[in-house]
Symmetry: C2
Subunit: 412 residues, 2 copies
């Protein structure tokens, strides 16, 4: 066995991108295909040898955490973790380590390539070597039970508590609660998974996995609102500029959560078979929007302003009063939705596709979500086609500057 | 409700791409961002307004089915179906319909957009409207039980039977058997899922879902062999040109399977936690290749030829004799591997990531796989880190010409 070659893995600080550069894949020129890559794995982009895929990078640092106002990526890997330790110092150290890891991961580097010992496990699991950052974002949040377990009583806030039971909820214990959430989003599924895997691995002695879910979005060229698995554009009515985010999303009281936000996650099964048997008129009535254009009833532009009180020539409301959009708007508050579709194989009970929406939204006060969900809970026509099976609320810290660590304001 | 606008969905033949063109997203010029798309969903490719994503298209027609020798895509959705009917004529019609659907899907069209009745369910589920083809391929196969159920006794072949039990197999009933497989691969997860969903929906009266699995590959810019979840390049030693495919993959006897091939699928759990605790030397010894470069022991080039009989200066074999590559090579036959990684949330027993390899390979004779798996079964060091939980063998028909339907030679 050649020790020479072998040690390469350790002896230098490999960034995933340096590696790419080394291999001649970034920038102009090199024809790697010539090295003999197998037919199955090569020439996918034949004739576009210099195309650079996934080279856009997002900084871990800033006023707010990334992955909240960041334009959506193609993939998410979302993880909910339970604390295994109640030692504040240990947990603090974990968040310091996670800060260090996240910065590297989002740059497209390995988490710790400098290890030089052949006889210990590699610190980075290595499945992203050679890959660009793919706009990876990593977003951390903690739940009310986190504050309880670490006895951070003076950090509690009245509004930060477990979500109430909503009408028609069928929440499963395994998809409920948890102490920490990590949301990793990227334009490559393996990059997102790799991030969570390595963060969890670093914290292994202090945490266990509660539930995780991978999700995807057909973002196309990034100019169109992506469609959900019911075939409707999903995400049209959302904060559009900094001012909207300021009003809707960013927590602005002067405490540890400043510049952070509340993340609410709902794991929602979508009964595709039932939906697919529903006629188009019913489908559109369910949302109060047209399927192809995404425009609200009575309009042609997807982004037309909606007045739920508007009546048609027949004196009836233009939007059906049991439609999803009517009821969501009726609550008269806003949230920022950043949901992903999922498909998990077959549901063992129904024998149908186990698919749905990993609904994630952000708001400066949990009541924004609660009001909307209460408005939807009983009356939403959409309820015939969906079941909420998982739930969680997490406070996502504000952003940090280089030299600080994520969650610092909570611990200090 | 505006009937005008509403009918748009039906009144014309929308192809997903026409739709794109209509929206000004193909080719030069239009600044769709200006239409007011939400901050979260827009400007992902800001500054690259004219970039065309996923516009490469693969034909359903040809000497062989696509998705076999096609360079791998980012995503797979793999489905195994059970027959619910034994009426040969009905099943034949289903394959005719599937041929029609597949041609359209792979072109980036909806399966049947010409429906003009508002009061029936849309024939296409619609979640890919506006999306390019993303190199979608659809590959169909049937199992030995398919021939039994349809009493196609004169089409049986001696070599086409259920796989034997292999050493250490822990196959679960739910991931075993099945009558038909559909493999949809694309560079977008929703495009792959949409294809299977609509094909299954079309055949709904005649089939049920047995098991499905979504998978992914970090194909980067398509020039590098993608890495699996153990961090190793996976797919290096594979057919590289038409001649290799001819020798290894394409069935060439003069019967209904001519120009087709045998697909073998193995659902293989990978115990990431155990692997991640293993030192690098052990990891590399497991495969007989270096982790970073992918080169075989004693070499520096990933694609260097391997001689398993080669001895080092110490007189010992250069490749450990219990390594995966040593044992695979020792079987002295070749197969074409086209595997994808999967990650399914948490394994309820271990509490660890439920992740692994959706191992798919193609060969002209099942014995090619059987020989290799028997060689690996008892001795492969890799067995410490993996468990085979699912299995299947399917005969994938040869390709067809326009006007023919998939499987025609079997039925006629
Ligand atoms: C599987 C479940 C769900 C599906 C398929 C779904 C789908 C949609 C669709 C298609 C729209 C219209 C386009 C848009 O503005 O994005 C919409 C709007 C909206 N949805 Fe949902 N949604 C789901 C669950 C929820 C939940 C749980 C909430 C929050 C409690 C929610 C809140 C909203 C809001 C606030 C709007 C915007 C309404 C407006 O002001 O126009 N949705 N949803
Ligand atoms: C999770 C399970 C598996 C993993 C992680 C895995 C991984 C790998 C890796 C990293 C290589 C070396 C690079 C390459 O040539 O692609 C390899 C080679 C190979 N594997 Fe696997 N493999 C798995 C299962 C299987 C199975 C089930 C078979 C077939 C029975 C198989 C057959 C082969 C063959 C034929 C080679 C090429 C050997 C050569 O001629 O160099 N592998 N595998």
């Amino acid at each position: 066995m050649s020790d020479e070659n072998d040690k390469k893995w350790f002896d230098k600080k490999i960034s995933r991108r340096d590696f790419l550069k080394k291999a001649g894949m970034v920038g102009a020129g090199a024809a790697i295909g010539a090295s003999g890559a197998g037919a199955i794995f090569a020439n996918m982009f034949s004739g576009k040898a210099n195309q650079v895929v996934g080279n856009e990078e997002i900084s871990f640092y800033g006023e707010h955490q990334s992955g909240i106002a960041t334009p959506v990526q193609k993939n998410v890997y979302f993880a909910v973790l339970d604390l295994h330790s109640t030692d504040k110092e240990e947990i603090k150290q974990m968040f310091k380590d996670w800060t260090d890891y996240s910065e590297k991961l989002m740059k497209g580097e390995l988490v710790a390539p400098e290890l030089a010992n052949h006889l210990v496990p590699p610190l980075d699991t290595g499945e992203t070597v050679g890959l660009n950052p793919y706009r990876l974002t990593i977003t951390f949040g903690i739940s009310p039970s986190f504050l309880d377990k670490l006895k951070l009583d003076n950090k509690k806030m009245e509004e930060f508590k477990d979500l109430p039971h909503f009408p028609r909820d069928q929440i499963k214990d395994k998809y409920k609660g948890g102490d920490i959430c990590i949301q990793a989003c990227a334009d490559d599924a393996q990059v997102a998974f790799h991030a969570v895997r390595n963060l969890v691995r670093k914290g292994r002695a202090l945490i266990t996995l509660k539930w995780t879910q991978a999700g995807f979005l057909p973002i196309g060229n990034g100019k169109e609102t992506p469609r959900n698995l019911f075939g409707f554009k999903d995400g049209t009515e959302n904060p559009k500029n900094n001012n909207d985010f300021k009003n809707v999303v960013w927590y602005d009281k002067n405490n540890w959560l400043k510049n952070g936000t509340f993340l609410i996650v709902r794991r929602i099964q979508m009964h595709l078979e039932t939906w697919d048997r529903t006629n188009l008129q019913e489908q559109e009535n369910t949302f109060g929007r047209y399927k192809e254009s995404g425009a609200p009833f009575g309009e042609t532009d997807e982004f037309a302003t909606i007045d739920i009180n508007k009546k048609g020539p027949d004196g009836k409301p233009v939007l059906p009063i049991d439609s999803h959009v009517y009821l969501a708007k009726k609550a008269d508050v806003k949230i920022a939705r950043r949901a992903f579709s999922y498909s998990n194989g077959i549901d063992e009970v129904s024998g149908q596709f186990d698919a749905g929406l990993l609904f994630i939204c952000f708001q400066k006060h949990p009541d924004q979500f609660i009001k909307i969900q209460n408005s939807l809970g009983n009356d939403d026509k959409l309820n015939e086609y969906i079941t909420h099976v998982g739930t969680g609320i997490f406070a996502c810290f504000g952003g940090i500057k280089k030299g600080e660590y994520i969650g610092q304001k909570l611990f200090e």
